[in-house]
Amino acid sequence: ATLEGDQTGDNGEVEEKSPEEITIGLSISTLNNPFFGELQSGVIEAAEENGSTVRSVDAQDDTATQVNGVDDLIQQGVDILLINPVDSDAITPAIESANSAGIPVITIDRSSEGGDVLTFIASDNVEGGEMAAEFIIEMVGEDARVVQLEGVPGASATNERGEGFSNVADERLNVLESQSANFNRSEGLTVMENIIQSNSDIDAVFAQNDEMALGALEALESAGMTDVIVVGFDGNDDALEEIEAGRLNATVAQQPDEMGRIAVEAVYDYFSGEEVESEIAAPLELITNE
């Protein structure tokens, strides 16, 4: 009787490879969210420019599907795995089985709690939450009345952005309501509509991603509450357009395609025998209409 991950693969010297020889396995948490679509394009474009092959699987936001998908990639004999975990804890065994198959792993956007990871590339979500809170204070002052729209319950992005936001907001803002709209635009709309019914006096809204922010925007607009400050997270195209148009006030922009590119760079560094840092921060930027 043995456990998967017990037998460790050859952990010797890295066999140097040129980009053309490398097959990258990519496991994305869900392609239904454009954010990750961009992340995937970042990886594919960077890899193709250099002649590498990418095989990608989509976990459709399900942890078990992701583990299966990673197994399938291992079966295909990929040289390296780029994993964007659905969940930081549940990905551990998959990373361990990659470890035992001797395949190096890089995680993107969300970290892994266990297993050996070459490097982790992400924006600092806690910091992003703090940035959003600071921006709101800057715009409407301390003790402003704020509503937070949370992401998918339990997702690390939800927890971390929430954590960062409360770090600042608990002391300096008046948080009226904090409800989940599942990172989803239409739920952002209805949840915001309902919150408006019992809180007509709102100064600002922090949505943990742009999709929800855009939904909330529609709700506020149809209630005639156009002067409420709305801050999103991600910096996706729709959000940037709305900022341009002056409807959305700000977004904490991540650069998913950049994350993808950085990951591919790290792959090449690794296979040419260079040292790879254990964490690489992807740039995070507050974009406003100023």
Binding site: Q179, R185, E193
Partner: protein, 320 residues
């Protein structure tokens, strides 16, 4: 004696019929009272209009689902149909087709997707559950393929398209008006026209209906087409409201729609049902969602409460 007995039986039947009709309505009134007592904001006209607008999406889908369920079928593909038809419509509008024409085409797309379900079920002889389960996956996949997983936004459509989901007429949200019109039309079709009679007959005893000369395949195909069209209509309203067509829109909407139909007293076994009940069912679910938000119940508990209320509503209905 025969006459006396049947007269009594008839009275009894009438009474239980009355309960059956009023059961869901009473549940709704009780629910409204409870929520109002706990938060008077609920009963404000603005919230009620808001509530109605929110309900309209589910109500429209559930109206179509009522027809399907009365024939003894089920349509799990409504959410995916909603997504695919609104994505395609957004694409059509972006390609420069005038909004009204595009909306019309969008509804036809929905009806066409429904027709495919109908064909699978009648000509292919596939069980409705499994046939629409398959198309649910297929239509969702096609939506993702078409949109590449990205929402379609800024496709335009001008005032006409924006008004569709976001407009007001005499102070009433336009989606509410659309839902009202759809309700009236479908009510008439189901309860006042021969088509509705045939729908019921098929659900009551398909074999007997067929032998009586009713073209059951044709009626069923129509019924699934109606369901598809209603889903498309809901999808267009949603796209207009969100100002974008979302590839993942409508996920799991089939469950809310089926719940509305069943809470409204329509039997999953077919042959028995009322579209008024479905409207009430949709209002119950909507009130619940809206009310729980208003009362600030955490979203985790909301799910528990929602499930419990569905059970209570159905149990009350059983108690004739």
């Amino acid at each position: 004696m025969d006459n006396k007995n049947t007269a009594i039986a008839r009275k009894k039947e009438k009474r239980s019929e009355l309960y059956r009709k009023l059961g869901p309505a009473i549940a709704l009134v009780v629910l409204v009272l409870i929520v109002t007592v706990m938060n008077t904001n609920f009963i404000q006209p603005t919230n009620l209009l808001n509530l109605l607008r929110q309900v309209s999406i589910n109500a429209l889908i559930a109206f179509g689902m009522t027809f399907v369920i009365i024939t003894g079928g089920i349509d799990l593909s409504v959410g995916s149909t909603l997504a695919l038809s609104s994505a395609l419509t957004a694409g059509i509008i972006a390609a420069g087709v005038p909004a009204l024409l595009a909306i019309f085409i969008g509804l036809l797309i929905g009806a066409f997707l429904g027709l495919i379900n109908g064909l699978l079920i009648t000509k292919g002889n596939v069980a409705p559950f499994i046939g629409t389960l398959a198309t649910m996956t297929i239509y969702r996949g096609l939506t993702l393929v078409y949109t590449q997983g990205n929402p379609i936004t800024g496709f335009g459509g001008g005032f006409a398209f924006q008004f569709f989901g976001r407009g007001y007429l005499f102070g009433i949200p336009f989606p509410v008006i659309i839902t009202t019109i759809a309700f009236i039309i479908l009510f008439v079709v189901l309860h006042k026209m021969t088509f509705g009679r045939k729908t019921f007959a098929i659900g009551g005893n398909e074999q007997a209906a067929y032998i009586a000369g009713i073209k059951s395949d044709r009626v069923k195909m129509m019924v699934y087409a109606i369901s598809g069209m209603m889903s498309a209509l809901a999808g267009l309203i949603l796209a207009s409201r969100l100002n974008s067509a979302q590839p993942t829109a409508g996920t799991a909407y089939e469950l809310d729609a089926i719940a509305a139909v069943v809470i409204g007293g329509t039997s999953l076994a077919g042959g028995k049902g009322r579209i008024v009940g479905t409207l009430i069912g949709a209002l119950i679910i909507g009130t619940l969602n809206n009310g729980l938000n208003l009362l600030g119940v955490s979203s985790f508990y909301q799910q528990v409460v929602r499930g419990v209320v569905i059970i209570i509503a159905v149990l009350l209905d059983r108690k004739k």
